[in-house]
Symmetry: C2
Subunit: 116 residues, 2 copies
């Protein structure tokens, strides 16, 4: 009796697919587009550090507290703008300083990712 | 009595920072680098759909079930390789087909992001 198990597994998988696989569902296309944009906004080390510092603050974070990430002020401003455009933070200018706060529900689209 | 509140707020903020602000902590640099790489691997609509379908499956997902995302098979293979390189999925070839499964703890680095 032949013991060629690999072809047997092949045939089983092929037969199962030929008979119509019932794949599990993943994220729908529209939801995946939205979540990918959010993740892209966060997928930078400096933006992550800026965002998590702002999010960890009760109330607002003064831009004067966001200068210690080893990048220039224009770079900080660029990253803050990206975070704002993605809906992750809000900003408000009051006089000399701009104040930032995390948008409370902004990370809600990540939930399905973590719940499988 | 003047009612120019904006300069008053300016002075308060400036005085507070001059006296030494105590900013909230964000992610440390090394952790931010690691998390940014993980988020970058997920920050694509097709990769998100592939990953969430694989993660939603109990056990393994045959590559033969990952062909309905409106992209070519080489593109699917490219995205699956990116997910594997990021440590999000494992793969095993058995005969004709490759089988994918989600790495259970791969999304753990996202937890601090969601917990503030």
């Amino acid at each position: 009796m032949p013991t060629t198990t690999e072809p047997a597994i092949d045939l089983t998988a092929a037969a199962a697919c030929a008979a119509g696989c019932a794949p599990a569902e993943g994220l729908p296309a529209a939801q995946a587009e939205q979540l990918a944009a959010l993740l892209k906004a966060l997928a930078d080390p400096v933006r992550l550090r800026l965002y998590t510092r702002i999010a960890a603050t009760t109330g607002e974070t003064c831009v004067c507290d966001l200068g210690d990430f080893g990048v220039s002020q224009p770079t900080v401003s660029h990253h803050l703008r990206k975070l704002r455009e993605a809906g992750l933070i809000d900003s408000e200018r009051r006089g000399t300083w701009v104040y930032y706060s995390a948008v409370p529900t902004a990370l809600a689209p990540l939930t399905p990712l973590l719940n499988g």
